[in-house]
């Protein structure tokens, strides 16, 4: 069959079988739904990435038009409400899932040798996810977004000694302004996703390398 031939041709050159066996057909210690939370987080990351890319087609990060452009996405574009709705609720869900994922790893003591680095990188992923939530919250540029970011950056400003500097660095100046919106947008669509993608790559490599941890027994 032609498809079989095509597959074989590609497999010989790409090693598809090896990729499949290592990534999707790894042995699991025991079927456990709690062990699927990492995959759920990965799925949500991809979903957020896809819907985010679609939103950027119509969204504009300028104080003059940010709010209007989102109104337009909601009312003027076919299925705009759906794309934004998925991105909005997916963001909340991702924070929740990533957090429960961390709790599960903690409770099952999966962070121990040889998986300490997986845990540390996971902490980085959690922080970057929260960063995505923080920066994304400002982008609708409505009252809630504006004041939430005012308060959020103010809190960062209470750090002793360097608080003032952190506040200015976050806001791009002393005031919450067009510069703040622009840099939050850049962080939200370029910097943090790049950090997330990189850390996810290492996280996945480590999981494939070490395999899933088994649940601790009484002897452990």
């Amino acid at each position: 069959m032609i498809l079989k031939k095509l597959y074989n041709w590609l497999d010989e050159r790409l090693g598809l079988k090896g990729i499949y066996d290592n990534i999707l057909d790894r042995p699991e210690p025991r079927g456990n739904w709690w062990n699927t939370l990492g995959s759920a987080s990965l799925f949500l990351f991809i979903l957020q990435g896809a819907t985010g890319i679609f939103l950027s087609v119509y969204y504009t990060p300028s104080p003059d038009h940010a709010y209007d452009s989102i109104q337009y996405i909601m009312d003027g574009v076919a299925f705009g409400w759906l794309v934004r709705g998925i991105h909005h609720w997916g963001a909340t869900l991702m924070v929740v899932i990533v957090f429960i994922h961390m709790l599960r790893v903690f409770v099952t003591a999966s962070f121990k040798y040889p998986r300490e680095l997986t845990w540390l990188i996971g902490v980085g992923l959690l922080l970057a996810t929260l960063g995505m939530g923080f920066t994304g919250y400002l982008l609708p540029w409505n009252q809630r977004a504006y004041w939430a970011t005012t308060v959020g950056t103010q809190i960062a400003g209470t750090v002793p000694l360097i608080g003032e500097f952190i506040l200015k660095a976050l806001r791009g100046g002393t005031d919450l302004s067009a510069l703040t919106l622009q840099r939050f947008f850049a962080a939200h669509i370029w910097m943090l996703p790049a950090v997330l993608a990189g850390l996810i790559g290492i996280h996945l490599y480590l999981i494939i390398r070490h395999g899933e941890s088994h649940l601790p027994t009484k002897e452990d």
Binding site: F54, V57, Y58, G76, A78, F79, V83
Partner: protein, 164 residues
């Protein structure tokens, strides 16, 4: 493969494939529609624009008019100005020639000159006759016409405007 032979692993694979396909379709198909939506909208808005009272227009002398249209593109509103000349060629109320004063060369606005008895363009010295034909200069074609017009009951001339 019969139902009995379907292994647990294969069942999971097939189910994952089907559920994944459904999720992909639910997100993917609206996403395509979302992307091409502006191309599917009928951009052209059309309207009857009042130009002026017929009794104010002298026969044989181009009557200038102008109007503004507001275009809404997504979240952006742009006002564009349009201008033209209505020329009564005879006493007959329907014997009108209505020209768009946008020069066909590079879109400057042409003006009627009584002394030259022609439309002159300030940008590149284009010259059009009262019927809009090119007399001199770089324009590639005569002035555009508003072909559709009507007279209301109280004698107001209206042109039919169609957005490109």
């Amino acid at each position: 493969m019969s139902e009995q032979e379907l292994s647990r692993r294969d069942f999971i694979k097939v189910t994952t494939g089907i559920v994944g396909g459904i999720i992909g379709a639910v997100v993917g198909l609206p996403a395509v529609y979302y992307l091409i939506d502006p191309a599917l909208k009928s951009g052209g808005k059309e309207a009857w624009i009042p130009v002026g009272k017929l009794e104010d227009m002298e026969v044989g002398k181009p009557y200038p008019f102008s109007f503004t249209r507001v275009q809404v593109n997504g979240w952006e509103r742009t006002a564009t100005s349009h201008a033209g000349y209505a020329l009564r060629r005879s006493e007959a109320p329907n014997d009108l020639l209505i020209l768009n004063s946008r020069c066909t060369h590079l879109a400057c606005t042409v003006n009627w000159s009584e002394t030259a008895q022609a439309y002159l363009c300030p940008c590149h010295d284009a010259k059009f006759s009262s019927s809009g034909d090119v007399l001199d200069g770089p324009p590639p074609r005569p002035l555009d016409r508003y072909d559709e017009f009507r007279l209301t009951d109280d004698g107001v001339l209206e042109i039919y405007y169609r957005e490109a």
